[in-house]
Symmetry: C2
Subunit: 253 residues, 2 copies
């Protein structure tokens, strides 16, 4: 969706190393925004994005207009089923339907052999992986680890909206995720207790509001009560008017 | 779905004339059956189908097992929106979701440049056309006119289920459709009156039961009350335990 940052750059570097030709799409997809104000406010920095793509050796940047991707409102869309029942899907109705539909379209138009996605948007990656399997789409999905600032904040196009005070408070989500990871590795198996403790530990209650903080199966994205295998801890937090998400994968304890 | 008849043969002949290589898929798709008894009863004649394909010069016949197409129940499926609100979609919940999903999968697996469908299943063709547009799938959809028996009955794999008496009564649906066409061409514009008259004119009320008889916009598949442009008349009729469908396109009056 553009507003490229170091996380996107890392996707491009991986692709550049592994592929003959690299195509980047930059398209702020209206179908995946559940709130018009969020679509209007989403950062758009096309000139800088194109310069970065050039520097990183991208062969083609695909920057369609919304009217090219959606000449009319689509009648057919991708129903992602239970994969959107929890995490961000629960709080952003229609978001993953919009994501899956545009990614399916981009796959059909570009016909890549491999497609690179960032781990930060873990529910998105899990849904796209499942869509590729369910629809027999001939593309390999490559997941690239989240790139972080020095204090742990996950790179996000939305970080540029943060005030100085918000920016200073924003790493609290990642710290809460690491705390869950540490406790699981130390033997804690009760996901419900872990979630409560993590949510309670978020500071600055007037600036930071947890939207969700959950522990789920990494593939089905269904919440687990007891941790018996690998899990994904994931949360969404409002920092003032800005919504940030983050996640860590916790291997089988 | 196999149980090939003269209508399928016509699809293959069109493809053979227009394409370098012809691939036929034969797959009785469980995802599109709304009733388990209908799936169990659907005719399967693979040896005869393969012989016909060979005779007609098909290069490849793709006959996957259900476990290959659906290693597990799909989580992602194609939501076809309002296109399934009327006609067969109204009476077969989930049917067109199953059709669109398997056709999308077959397109991804086979990657045809053109795909041939019969006009008899007009709602299916309209939905597939719309899916191809909405998902930017690089395939041309070719619609081939319905092939009919001498008395007008549309070819269908289900015709083989008809008893002699049922077979004799079955052309009533097509006759009703032609009657609508004749009246529209003679100046009738009131779709509601046309539908009532057509449904009332179906004979043998103990053997033939109209499921629906409708007049719709050919693209949106929404019912029209007044006929001001091209329309499609379409019906479904139970002939004893067998459900048959048929349709005629009526050009702008």
């Amino acid at each position: 969706m553009g507003a490229l940052h170091a996380g996107h750059a890392e996707l491009i570097r991986h692709a550049r190393r592994e592929c003959d030709a690299v195509i980047a799409s930059i398209f702020v997809n209206p179908l995946q925004f559940d709130r018009p104000d969020d679509l209007a406010r989403y950062p758009r920095t096309l000139d800088a994005d194109l310069a970065l793509c050039r520097d990183l050796g991208v062969d083609v940047v695909f920057t369609p207009a919304a009217s090219e991707i959606y000449p009319e409102a689509p009648e057919c869309t991708v129903d992602v089923g239970r994969l959107a029942d929890h995490l961000c899907g629960k709080y952003r109705p229609g978001h993953f339907r919009g994501v899956a539909t545009v990614v399916l379209k981009l796959f059909q138009i570009v016909q890549p052999e491999r497609a690179y996605f960032g781990e930060k948007d873990a529910q998105q990656v899990a849904i796209i992986r499942r869509m590729v399997t369910d629809f027999s789409i001939p593309v390999d999905i490559v997941e690239v680890p989240t790139v972080r600032e020095a204090d742990g904040l996950a790179m996000s196009s939305r970080n540029r909206h943060l005030s100085k005070a918000e920016r200073a408070a924003a790493p609290a989500l990642y710290r809460a995720l690491l705390d869950v990871q540490r406790k699981v590795l130390a033997g804690e198996r009760d996901a419900v207790a872990l979630k409560s403790a993590a949510a309670a530990a978020i500071p600055h209650p007037d600036m930071l509001k947890i939207e969700y903080f959950d522990i789920v199966d990494p593939h089905s994205l269904q919440p687990v009560d007891r941790i018996d295998g690998p899990v994904r801890a994931a949360g969404a937090m409002w920092v003032g008017p800005t919504r940030l998400i983050d996640t860590v994968l916790i291997p089988r304890p």
